[in-house]
Amino acid sequence: MSEQSTEQILADSEYKYGFVTDVEADTIPMGLNEDIIRMLSGKKGEPEWMLEWRLKAYRWWLKMKEPRWANLDFPPIDFQAIRYYSAPKQRSETEIDPELQKTFERLGIPLHERNRLEGVAVDAVFDSVSVATTHKEMLKEKGVIFCSFSEAIREHPDLVKKYMGTVVPYTDNYYAALNAAVFSDGSFCYIPKGVRCPIELSTYFRINAMETGQFERTLIVAEDDSYVSYLEGCTAPLRDRNQLHAAVVELIAMENAQIKYATVQNWYAGDKDGKGGIYNFVTKRGHCKGRNSKISWTQVEAGSAITWKYPGCVLEGDNSVGEFYSVALTNNKMQADTGTKMIHIGNNTRSTIVSKGISAGESNNTYRSLLQILPDAKNCRNHTQCDSMLIGSLCKANTFPNIEAENGSAVLEHEATTSRISEEQLFYLKCRGIKEEDAVSLVVNGFCKEVLKQLPLEFAVEAIKLLEMKLDKSVG
């Protein structure tokens, strides 16, 4: 596809982040083997222990079989046809390429610390590497470490060694093993004891290069009595080939600590016929390690050709709390198999799950979850609300919850509904002179309200706009 026609498509398309940035890239050859991993590790100037860990993960990955149990349909992935490292060439250590700067500005992400999202510190990841992290100095004063993962390996090896892979070990699953072997960058965040992180932290992921995969790793550690709120956003250019994004996110909350993690995912979802788009196969897990800790996941999944992820919480500390708020929207030929896992290990642990699925076009939207109460976990509590809305007659919505109660003192409630967008509500709004499309987005906003209100204000506004944009032309 030539640049010209890409621009043309862009003009007509609802996906306004589908442009390509023309920067010189530093890449390594395509394919995957131990030499590639050595080369990748060498490029990043990693210490020996990191390389060893990668190789261990790679060897483990070789022994694994690609999982196929999800309710998803996609052709086999050729892992040798992916370029595992691509980084924009930086001119100097301190300066950001103006092209890159422009890219992030077009995406609405300020790399200079003077923009409208002033209260947010951003780590911007472009293809395989982090290009800039803002507000570092201010955070440093508080003792908060917020930097790219590569930097953390260099500057804070003890912390990385201590926590990396403790929540999602490389043996966890196929894509987690692959990620551990080839991950290129990501964010690292450490909140020391008793610190309430003064601003929102955020990472923006951008895939630019062709035929690359993005494999980033995020690790957030909140020490005793600390608090952090973290946001993640993602986009990619329009391409007619599928690209793989297999990330790992690990969260660790110690005693009385609280982590809020929000994702607004808008990877390129492919065109109307399902051509192209990102395969978003992500492992996200939080570990409530200390007593009274709390981890809260909020996700707005509006992009990707295929979304396959289950952000979960391991509730180990007594009285710890896990939350999962999700909106998953699929349109055209998109597929999503997403939900959560809540593993209750500690006593008096509580979890709340609110999931809203919206299927339009010919898409297939599946909610899948695991709620497990281990035999020694007393007085656990869960409430799950899981609703699906159907727009159009060719879409599919599935709900597959798994509830396993091995302790008699647990109180678990699960409720799910699937229904079409209410004709009556649309009619009511239309009677009042509201256009059908606006009426649909009002109803959808109302449907998702419980989840959207969990997002910080600026993100909530963007998420609403995103949902509107995605549903455009899907009615009627």
Partner: protein
């Protein structure tokens, strides 16, 4: 939908003792060519279905290897004979008793004489009522891919029964089907085909029992056809002995404006895996499905229900209530399936579980699989113990704790027991519940 965790499906695999050689011996003993042909046809279907493995979503919690097919033998085809009488016999129009060595059909209400109601062994139906049974051999009630054990029953049954009710018949007192298995090491394989004609009204009660302490097994495969405007009320009571292993695969196909009411009551058995599906096959079809289970000691009860809606304007409502006590493990898997084009469907599914003590376990997997848009499908599921506040309330009124618990558990089941129309069945349910609470 059977989700296979890993693609390792093999064909031409046989359940231990149910292989080609065993089938040939069985086919050779068939009296008529019609019977032989039917068995052959079903055996081919059986052969094509893969064996379940622990990797399949449906079998993850109940390892198929736990079914002791290798230690048990299929009971020889059961001939007609005389069976022991039972108190309930007087309450029904037709009584079918099935024992290890004989089965018996008794016309208590004098309803079989005019041929409008047909209750005959399968081989006799094939021989003498071919025109009446033929449509139901061709059009199956199964709306989803069958399980290996359902098709095993189709091919290897040792007692087969065809019940056909002509259009416009009101069979109020209904039919009682009593299975009393007693011999150790035997596998009873009933194959039941029920067809209720247009605008007819039928009642069916099935009671399955066996003595405690004897290891045996039953594999039941049933198909129900409810024709246009007809109504079938079916009650299944399972009070198997404590070492009986039970497998069942049941399907009901519901026609235009027809209604099925089905109550399943599971108490006995060491290991039970039952699968039941209803299919709203024409507009106006209505399925009311209720279930109750009480698992205690080391019982393992795995139940799967499927509410299929293959036609628009169909309705289904399901309520399954269960208690797990001691070291019991109960599994409930439910699926509402709306096929493409099945619009204006209204389906509801509810599963409530009480886990009475640590060590007992209840898994609940309600599911929705929706391929149509203009509809309303929902499910609700709860797991919990008795409400301490409610116990306290009763104790404040001078009721001792044991009685309070018993009252609350009985109350918990009342939604389902209250729907059982037969006094005799309700009595058994109450005594089973009381005995299990202890």
């Amino acid at each position: 939908m059977a989700v296979v965790l890993e693609q390792e499906v093999k064909k031409d695999e046989y359940v231990a003792g149910f292989d080609e050689a065993a089938f040939r011996a069985l086919a050779n003993e068939a009296e008529t060519s019609a019977l032989r042909e039917l068995r052959e046809l079903r055996f081919d279907e059986y052969r094509a279905v893969p064996l379940p493995t622990k990797k399949m979503e449906e079998w993850r919690r109940t390892d198929p290897a736990r079914f002791p097919f290798d230690r048990m033998k299929r009971l020889p085809t059961i001939p007609r004979g005389v069976c022991a009488p039972h108190d309930w016999d007087e309450l029904f129009d037709v009584v079918v008793s099935v024992e290890d060595a004989a089965f018996d059909i008794q016309d208590r209400g004098g309803v079989l004489g005019d041929g409008k109601v047909l209750v005959v062994p399968l081989e006799e139906a094939l021989r003498e009522h071919a025109d009446r049974i033929r449509p139901f051999l061709e059009k199956r009630a199964r709306a989803e891919a069958p399980d290996k054990y359902e098709v095993l029953g189709d091919a290897f049954w040792n007692v087969g029964l065809f019940i056909h009710i002509a259009p416009g018949v009101d069979l109020k007192r209904g039919i009682l089907l009593r299975y009393r298995q007693s011999g150790a090491g035997g596998i009873l394989i009933p194959r039941i085909l029920v067809a209720v004609g247009e605008r007819s009204n039928a009642v069916l009660v099935e009671s399955m029992e066996s003595p405690d302490g004897v290891e045996m097994m039953s594999v039941v495969s049933r198909e129900f056809h409810v024709a246009e405007g007809a109504k079938l009320h079916s009650t299944t009571l399972r009070t198997w002995g404590d070492r009986t292993v039970h497998l069942a695969g049941d399907w009901a196909r519901i026609g235009r404006d027809a209604r099925l009411e089905w109550i399943t009551l599971n108490f006995g058995g060491r290991l039970t895996k039952v699968r039941f599906g209803s299919d709203g096959a024409a507009p106006g079809a209505n399925a009311e499905l209720d279930g109750l289970f009480f698992a205690s000691d080391e019982q393992h009860v795995d139940q799967k229900t499927l509410q299929v809606h293959s036609s628009p304007d169909t309705y289904s409502r399901l309520l399954y209530k269960g208690v797990a006590k001691d070291k019991a493990y109960s599994v409930y898997q439910g699926q509402i399936i709306a096929r493409p084009g099945a619009i204006r469907v209204d389906a509801y599914q509810r599963n409530n579980n009480l886990v009475l003590n640590d060590g007992a376990r209840a898994d609940s997997m309600p599911g929705l699989q929706i391929d149509a848009d203009d509809l309303k499908c929902s499910h609700g599921s709860t797991v919990g113990n008795l409400d301490e506040d409610e116990i306290f309330y009763l104790r404040c009124r001078g009721i001792d704790e044991g009685t309070a618990r018993k009252t609350l558990i009985r109350g918990f089941f009342e939604d389902v027991t209250g729907r059982i129309p037969h006094e005799c069945v309700r009595k058994v349910v109450h005594s089973q519940v009381d005995a299990k609470i202890g």
